[in-house]
Symmetry: C2
Subunit: 226 residues, 2 copies
Amino acid sequence: MSEADERPIEGEDELRAADGRMPGRRGLATRQKLLEHTLSMLEASSYRELKVIDIAREAGTSPATFYQYFPDVESAILVLAQDAAHDGAVLTEIATAGPWKGPGGYDTAGRLVDAFFEFWDSHQSVMRVVDLATAQGDDRFRQIRVRLLNDIASSLAQVVRHFVSTKQLPDGLDPMAQAGVVVSMLAHVSDHQMGFEFWGIKTKNLRVSMARQVYWTITGQKPPAP
Amino acid sequence: MSEADERPIEGEDELRAADGRMPGRRGLATRQKLLEHTLSMLEASSYRELKVIDIAREAGTSPATFYQYFPDVESAILVLAQDAAHDGAVLTEIATAGPWKGPGGYDTAGRLVDAFFEFWDSHQSVMRVVDLATAQGDDRFRQIRVRLLNDIASSLAQVVRHFVSTKQLPDGLDPMAQAGVVVSMLAHVSDHQMGFEFWGIKTKNLRVSMARQVYWTITGQKPPAP
DNA sequence: CAGAAATCTGACGGTGTGTCAGATCATACC
DNA sequence: GGTATGATCTGACACACCGTCAGATTTCTG
């Protein structure tokens, strides 16, 4: 494949319209409306069947207008993903704030689990696309995923480092690997919460198992009896 | 003619062609060729951009032929997913065979991790679609996912039950929740192995963290120092 | 080899894509 | 109010894919 003539000159302004102009108030409102309907259609139908023409129809505008603001459907979802990642900052905050030492540690683990559930519940459909696109090697989506999960993992890895230094976790563990594994578990279980309930597992029990794993993996300490 | 009709095909009405007939040797070969090219295209391009016409072109046949064997692209992927799930039986076998008690337990955990890596490495692209479709509520895909992961989880839950009965895991834990959380972690980390390496985490270290978590969550025993 | 069955495909009406040029709209300034 | 100006929107188009069917082609059977 050959690179067509591109224009990397324009600024990093994701807001720019197709013609390179900066939209005004009206344009931004239209853009926002399109984003909202992209989200609601993504929640309602499947990723594969999400069509520009449907989004436009739903938003009471024309496909050409959509293309004025986004080069394709994926780019619109990318914006939604960036918004979601922004909301995800709260997860990092919980991990960073702790406390992880002492009796409050297990409670922190529980709050982190709850926050994951809540975050995924709000951004399920978008995060699924982020995951798929990332796995398929799309760099734009991977960056978002990294910004979200790597922040959390780094924060937890810091805690792991502390408990390695106090010998409560053995030397030789890779703190980032420990943290990454925990974050993976949280993300995946949150994403498939409904599936677990279908297996007959109560969310309450799931929460316990998750919190215990988080606590043990991060602090190396035995969680309290359930 | 009596030797041919004793195939190991049971509930496979799925093989039926569009017109309701049972394909013969030639038809099955075409069907298989289409499946192979569906897989290779899925690996090469993205799920969203996977088009019938491309698969047909690649397979040196016409779109109409594709529709002779599959009602749509998803149905073809469904068949690939069933094949993958069949391969996944080895995971359940490892979990069931153990041993989990005694000094060999941690080694079993390690072998389970390796098997997950290998399985996901082979069936990455298909499993991603299974995950997405399941999460979006597609029943056909969810059943496959359940048949695969629920088998493993059930097997591990049985081990959890044993260690609860010996008091090495506390009473009050939901064995299936414990197992489900572990399986989720294994599946998700395997799926994003490349992503972890991008974070600078060595697969070897990842393997250690995963095996430790599996061992601890399933047996309640402290894993050996790394 | 002829006839039948199985398999494949050209062709078509329907729908979605992505891009224009030009129509419509909002606002500033007289 | 009137109108100039740029921002915004859209009809229309050329192209691509979908999913179906009748009929052509290949393979099998006797």
